[in-house]
């Protein structure tokens, strides 16, 4: 059971998928010779050739648009968008074509396309490199949206995403790329947790904290800190954003009576609002306090030297926990 950084776990997952199915292709900018700016595709062009690992022209609409055509011809393209803020040139292809072609053709067309998007902040980078646009994709029917928080999930979820007959937007938490974790590579795709289930990653009785991608570790750190003060946080790693596994969170909230949702994306219009609305609807009589949200502010992602203030940190999570407990 190797101990892999999250980026390497995705690399291994891509490799396994490519070995299993010759129709799996990788497409993107600098993913071939260079192995991607985060080295997630390192070594794959060397081993699988240029026909299966394509360095593309610098055009995101082109990447997604041609991936659609390749999928129609039976391929399973996995597209890398170099950074979160550069996905918008492809937005038309994603929203009007990729997401809708199945419905438009009454299920006659299948679009097994994966879009890998590094997202989130905390790496001290420049504009457009640290954003969290997942809510924009979650609102678009026809897409599935998931994000792993650990190396093990990264390894398996990328394979599940590739195996999905539906288009999947796969958000990779940038600042966790170098976090290591054990990966059980001997299991099979059927054995591991389903792609669209949330997971309780820490048990606790006082407040449920729901997080995904980069904020899962943050929630766990907050839980450690809270435990020192005697507050037991239950941490749920959502894993899947569309569909949203409301049931797993509701089950937890029915026990704790309190929920704090944490994501890096701006709170306003973010995924947390949707979860809050659904949990409140389902658990209205169990809730001891309103669902609270901790997220980015309704601001363009700021310059790197101020991002620690923009991003939810342990303290802001704990502050919300305190407010929830005080309600």
């Amino acid at each position: 059971m190797p101990n892999l950084p999250l980026a390497k776990a995705i690399n291994a997952g891509l490799r396994t998928a490519m070995e299993r199915d010759p129709k799996v292709l990788l497409m993107g900018e600098d993913i071939g010779r260079l192995g991607g700016v985060f080295r997630v595709t390192e070594g794959l062009q060397k081993d699988f050739g240029e026909a299966r690992v394509l360095d593309t022209p610098l055009a995101e609409a082109g990447i997604v648009g041609t991936a659609i055509g390749l999928a129609l011809r039976g391929y399973r393209p996995v597209c890398e968008i170099q950074f979160n803020g550069f996905v918008y040139p492809a937005f038309n292809q994603i929203v009007t074509q990729l997401a809708k072609l199945r419905a438009r053709s009454q299920g006659r067309l299948e679009l097994p396309v994966v879009l890998r998007i590094p997202f989130g902040g905390g790496i001290g980078s420049v504009e457009h490199h640290s954003e969290s646009p997942e809510a924009l994709f979650a609102h678009v029917s026809g897409l599935r949206v998931v994000t792993p928080a650990t190396s093990a999930d990264a390894y398996w979820m990328i394979q599940q995403a590739i195996a999905s007959p539906d288009p999947v937007v796969f958000f990779e938490p940038e600042r966790r790329y170098w976090d290591k974790g054990q990966v059980e590579t001997d299991a099979t795709l059927a054995d591991v947790a389903p792609l669209h289930r949330a997971r309780v990653v820490r048990r606790g009785e006082h407040v449920t904290v729901a997080a995904y991608g980069p904020t899962v570790r943050l929630a766990l750190e907050a839980a450690e800190a809270a435990a020192e003060d005697g507050t037991q946080l239950e941490v749920v790693d959502l894993r899947t954003i569309s569909p949203l596994d409301v049931g797993t969170v509701a089950e937890s909230v029915r026990r704790t009576g309190r929920l704090v949702v944490v994501h890096e994306a701006p709170t306003f219009g973010g995924v947390g609002g949707e979860l809050a609305a659904r949990i409140t609807e389902r658990c209205f009589y169990s809730l001891e306090a309103p669902v609270l949200r901790v997220g980015g502010f309704h601001l363009p992602y700021p310059a790197a030297r101020v991002e620690e203030h923009y991003l939810p940190g342990v303290d802001r999570v704990l502050d919300a926990v305190d407010r929830s407990l005080a309600a």
Partner: protein, 384 residues
């Protein structure tokens, strides 16, 4: 200037129906092939006529006509082989016809019973795409798939495959159209980008889109650009066939500009008298693609009365098929919309399906206290 013949346009038939030679392009067709093309032209025009009538009668919400563009569509459509793939806009009813699609499948879209009533896999005709130019990158990607399948340059005419992607003159302005051309060039993809320059994009003349002829765009990325008389079915067939052959043999992409004219309105919601002159339309009426081809066939002595009578009867039958069929197109069941957004269940969709089913059932159950309140009236058919 709409109306004048542009320089360098490939033509094999003059507007008067005279067969002319071209140094680079030719077609040698058997009489039955020529008559087959004529049949196609007449029947697709009949589909258009009938659909317009059905729209006026309220059976369709909208119709996007092809009047005047029959030759460009039949010429290019008949150049395709069964294994080829076509990616149309919303106006390629003639191409759909050549792909063996029942026009009723198209009427579904304009009646509003579905977003497309044919099997795109079986017919190798992609669903109509309303977002202009958005079908082109998928077309190029499909061609890249063909390449990867080794279905190019084998010399086997049943195997070698090409892709054709259609767009209008207005659509050439979309960045995606440029990207498609460029990707085709960079990957040497077996694809033909076929632009029907019908001189208008709704109310905008082609001069709003470009200052130079559209086919020159291809030069910019090193793709051959060919200008063809889009009202000349033989020239369209010859040029498209050559381009597709080139693609199938591994020679790479071609951009074709078919110079033609939208004789009717943009759609039935449009009123072209607001933006163009009757005189302009008259100029183009004199170049009608069917008239000219009929004159040619007549001059060759190929059109006899038996054939035209039979064709007239076939057209009438087709019209009747549409008239009867359109009224029988099944109304979509309310719950069916939940079936195809995803291949595998999606929790929120399933939940909404169940809730909505229960909600609908609550009316059937007719609980005491009343009927469902009425839906507010919708203002149908006011837009395109």
């Amino acid at each position: 200037m709409p109306g004048g013949d542009p320089e360098g346009m490939v033509q094999l038939l003059t507007p008067a129906g005279e067969r002319v030679e071209h140094p680079d392009y030719d077609v040698a067709l058997e009489p039955e092939e020529l008559l087959g093309l004529y049949r196609d032209l007449v029947l697709v025009r009949r589909v258009d006529t009938e659909a317009n009538a059905l729209q006026r009668q309220g059976e369709l919400g909208l119709w996007a006509g092809l009047l005047g563009q029959e030759a460009a569509q039949v010429g290019s459509g008949r150049a395709l082989r069964p294994q080829d793939h076509a990616f149309p806009t919303y106006r390629e009813h003639g191409v759909a016809w050549c792909r063996g699609v029942d026009p009723l499948g198209i009427l579904e879209i304009f009646r509003g019973t579905s977003h497309g009533g044919w099997d795109p896999v079986a017919h190798r005709l992609h669903p109509y795409t309303l977002v202009i130019a958005a079908q082109l990158l998928p077309a190029v990607g499909c061609a890249m798939g063909v390449q990867r399948d080794g279905a190019v340059g084998t010399g086997d005419p049943g195997r070698d495959t090409a892709v054709i992607g259609y767009l209008g003159d207005g659509a050439t302005s979309q960045g995606e159209a440029s990207e498609a051309l460029q990707w085709a060039a960079v990957f040497n993809a077996p694809v033909v980008i076929f632009c029907q320059n019908n001189q208008w994009a709704i109310s905008e003349p082609v001069s709003v889109q470009a200052r130079v002829p559209l086919h020159r765009r291809a030069d910019g990325v090193g793709v051959p650009g060919v200008l063809v008389d889009g009202n000349d079915v033989l020239a369209c067939l010859a040029v498209t066939r050559a381009a597709l052959d080139r693609a199938r043999s591994g020679g790479g992409p071609t951009f074709v500009e078919a110079y033609t004219y939208r004789m009717g309105a943009h759609t039935t919601s449009d009123d072209p008298t607001r933006y163009r002159s009757a005189a302009e339309v008259d100029v183009w009426r004199a170049k009608d693609p069917i008239d000219r081809f009929r004159r040619y066939l007549e001059s060759e002595g190929l059109l006899d009365e038996d054939f035209t009578t039979a064709l007239e009867a076939e057209a009438e039958q087709l019209a009747e098929h549409l008239r009867a069929g359109v009224r029988e197109l099944p109304e979509p069941a309310p719950l069916a919309m939940f079936d195809h957004a995803y291949a595998e269940p999606h929790e929120q969709v399933e939940e909404e399906r169940e809730e909505f089913a229960a909600y609908l059932a609550s009316f059937d159950a007719a609980p005491s206290g009343g009927d469902p309140h009425q839906q507010p009236a919708t203002v149908a058919g006011r837009t395109r």
